[in-house]
Symmetry: C3
Subunit: 433 residues, 3 copies
Amino acid sequence: MSIAIKPNDRTAQSLFALCERLFPICRSITGDGVRQTLAILKEYIDLNIVEIPTGKAVLDWQVPKEWNVQDAWIKNSLGERVVDFQNNNLHLLNYSIPVHRKIDLAGLKKYLYTLPEQPDLIPYRTSYYKENWGFCLSHHQYEALEEDTYEVYIDSTLQAGHLTYGELYIPGIIKDEILFSTHICHPSLANDNLSGISVLTHLIQYLKSRKNKFSYRFIFIPGTIGSITWLEENQDQLQHIKGGLVASLLGDAGDFTYKKSRRDNTEMDFVVEQVLQKARVPYRIQNFIPYGYDERQFCSPGFDLPMGNLTRSQFGTYPEYHTSADNLALIRPEYLATSLAVYQGVVNAFEKNIFYQNLSPQGEPQLGRRGLYEAIGGNSDAKQLQMAMLWVLNYSDGAHSLAHIAHLSQLDYPLIEKASQLLESKSLLKKLG
Amino acid sequence: MSIAIKPNDRTAQSLFALCERLFPICRSITGDGVRQTLAILKEYIDLNIVEIPTGKAVLDWQVPKEWNVQDAWIKNSLGERVVDFQNNNLHLLNYSIPVHRKIDLAGLKKYLYTLPEQPDLIPYRTSYYKENWGFCLSHHQYEALEEDTYEVYIDSTLQAGHLTYGELYIPGIIKDEILFSTHICHPSLANDNLSGISVLTHLIQYLKSRKNKFSYRFIFIPGTIGSITWLEENQDQLQHIKGGLVASLLGDAGDFTYKKSRRDNTEMDFVVEQVLQKARVPYRIQNFIPYGYDERQFCSPGFDLPMGNLTRSQFGTYPEYHTSADNLALIRPEYLATSLAVYQGVVNAFEKNIFYQNLSPQGEPQLGRRGLYEAIGGNSDAKQLQMAMLWVLNYSDGAHSLAHIAHLSQLDYPLIEKASQLLESKSLLKKLG
Amino acid sequence: MSIAIKPNDRTAQSLFALCERLFPICRSITGDGVRQTLAILKEYIDLNIVEIPTGKAVLDWQVPKEWNVQDAWIKNSLGERVVDFQNNNLHLLNYSIPVHRKIDLAGLKKYLYTLPEQPDLIPYRTSYYKENWGFCLSHHQYEALEEDTYEVYIDSTLQAGHLTYGELYIPGIIKDEILFSTHICHPSLANDNLSGISVLTHLIQYLKSRKNKFSYRFIFIPGTIGSITWLEENQDQLQHIKGGLVASLLGDAGDFTYKKSRRDNTEMDFVVEQVLQKARVPYRIQNFIPYGYDERQFCSPGFDLPMGNLTRSQFGTYPEYHTSADNLALIRPEYLATSLAVYQGVVNAFEKNIFYQNLSPQGEPQLGRRGLYEAIGGNSDAKQLQMAMLWVLNYSDGAHSLAHIAHLSQLDYPLIEKASQLLESKSLLKKLG
């Protein structure tokens, strides 16, 4: 798989179109924005919508009050809306309580958030767990505000309700499962994380269209509180998880970034390395750190799930991150499609990532007699497939998976797969487990 | 040991002379060429010749039919031999079945093998396990063939017989043994592997001339099928093998190459590293890969013997490999002699590679009182022998051999040996095992 | 802690002043020079003076005869003292037996030691364990000696007596102890090792002024025979030692050098790394080698204590080492004070180097509700303290100390400490052990 996708590729267009549809919605960790988002996804995939009531204890946390917003603005004394939520939902501090008051400029400034070093951009700010209100605006806009009496209006509700998330389970031949998680709590931000939502939605369509060995679980959850809630609700099921990825930041032009699981050298870590290598895309692999997205929760020491985080640019590392510049212009159809192809590659590699037992471990089995070896010996060219067969035979001792052997041999994973299939077809290997 | 051997060195001459004697013989994995080769070796060493009958099941394989050849040629319509086995036995595809027929140029070409990128050289090709016939020739010769009716003649036999190999066992004080293996199946190729045959023959003479601690076993076997046959025949004896080397490619000008055992960090691996370091020759050390010579069989997962492969240039990496240019001009007496010296070094290091127990492990023993320490202290020059004594004392805890301590300290192995002998002579160390 | 100490700092002056007081004394591994040295230290700290009699068996050694010297000189035939112990006690081969004789130049030269490559300097030489006499002088002085009859006079005694050392124990809340050791056997050499003596003396004052968790033991001992004697006398107590440092060479301008314990990756190794990193001083960290100072004894395989060696320039690596140029001009108050600060840092880090258990290991605990997290989310600036809290929470699984977590995260140790204290104050962590 060397991935080269054109912008007008049909899947690429579909991935981007879903981002476009979802972009205008004002999402948060709870509320109707999330419900609208999941409802749109339901047009694509048979999502199970779960509602968890406010106040429910989840691990160390509590499901918060539900937040909804109708409108929000700041008017000057002429009645002009100088900051308007209708223009960009990032203008409102996410989870702002309802407010209607007049305030002078000095008073107002205590409630304003800007990015002085990126004066054209509106920052994205939230206050989920401390009741507050505020507005976010560009620093240029902020500096243009004159002494005046301003009218501030936030038509929001913050009250008992629900936390909403979507879940979808695709049963496979075995109960061992792969978990994909993505966060759905960001308002009009494209790369972070409509890209992740769209890629997983299309990955589900891909998996649904066929029979799989592993079972797959997808969760579309608000960040942090969503994964904590889901973990609380599903503690009995976690032992089935044999690998997983937190999906996000998949639409920009950045190189792929894989952050390994806390356990290190899990099968998922071997698989992703091989897929990225095989995809011939620029990438980097990093050790686990306890910061980032929901892998923080999945890899907390009390769970320590074998999950990594696979993005393009990494969180916090690109200038548009958590600003109004993370918009539809930042992401591109072909980047989304390449990301999807990589995720499909991961799924396919995991499906085929078998532990084999060499049934003829004493010496090499005679490959030639089975048609697996060139008849005319002595040719000094390295025969890659034969090499792959030798690697698979030598390391199929019960301790090394195919992805692990690919990692050891530095041979391409498809070659290792092909070699193992050939060997299995000749009864030289037996699948384990 | 810093090795500097002159071409006219007597051992160097003897090593080369044996290669010269063996060069003209048309060897294969079976047949009279092997028998003639072993018969010549018997003039030097008391080899035990073993004959295993065709059809015998050996591990996953079967001993093949025996192949012998009297003559082979291609004549043009004028009756001129345009390709002639008598000129170079590489001209005949090794293991060719008997043929006598007329054929036009197009038909003939299906049976011809050349090296278009090395148009002056005859390739070496075999077809052991699929019945076939063919001729190998230089690409220039091939291109000069004109439209004509050719007469093809191969006077060979392929029928029930034996696989022949030589074995020699030198009992030592203990039954623990070191295994040296070399392949004897190549026809007129000098570096691959008359060099290995000659070096081991002389190494046997060296070991026979003295009393050894370890027992040594040497096997002169056809490649692949020979090691498989030998392993089949000797499965009960393998537990005595404490280390070993596959010897080949020992006569060319290339740097030494050591491919470690599959187990990694075995005593043989430590020993070879130290000998190469001490020899002050250029070398490289590589991790195990399941490709190469008969270490593929010895290190298969069902045996996993502590054996490496010690060559000069590595298989497949020099341009003359498996061509008519791997002839007596490629190898030189002094290179063979340096290789022999390195192999002797390995044997000597293994003989002395003792695990010691420090009998005074609490604090340093008082070396000065035993005459092991310079009397006038305070000199800041590093005293290498004293350093070696300190390393040996500190790490002789039962878990580290001398070769391992040499590896840790990066001190020369002879210094480590000398230090340990001094310490043992003063009853500060006790030999283990 | 970024250490910047001025020469006129009061502690710096005190450290240097102690070196100045001790400098003139002619010390050795036994004798009144050691007693005078310890008596001066007793003015600063409540040292317990231990006397072990000559002849006592200590591990593999024996306590040697006690050596004392009154005077020593070489006079020429004019009666002029051409070499005079009164000018510099390095002139006398340490442990010289009494001598009074006339000798010609050729005979005399057998007893003279010089440094031809550093012709201005007097070498430091000893002959503790072989009875001998001699003089050390500059090579220039040596070359100026003319043919003459010389009178040699050494007024020394070498007879049954004692080996003397100082010990001080500061009981802490727990019996687990940290051992600091320094050698006191060198005559007029400043960096090696009045610097170590002075730094440990001031470190004791520092620890005495407060309550400590760990117990601390300090030993001021002659090199080699002193540590061996102390180990013999204290074998029953060694199990309390949880870490330690051999202190020496702490007054020169060199970069800090830490030689790790033989065990490698002990808590002391993690702690020293973090302190040096935090101190923002140049440093290097080396693996254990069985050569150097008394860590040779403490890390011998029969004891294998978790102790390292923390110096500035390493032994044997600076040109003034073991010469008359290792004098008071080589060391500086501010260097001594920086070394003391680093040692204090080590103590403080060890005191706080706790193993914590995360009491909320499933998912991240809600830091915001406990006031530990910024209320306004979405700010992309890395919050170092929050990062430290996440690292501490994720790795406080019982297997990682704070120093180990600092090592993993590469975050500053004080930040890790502060994070852990905050988390503990909110009952999110429980101290282990």
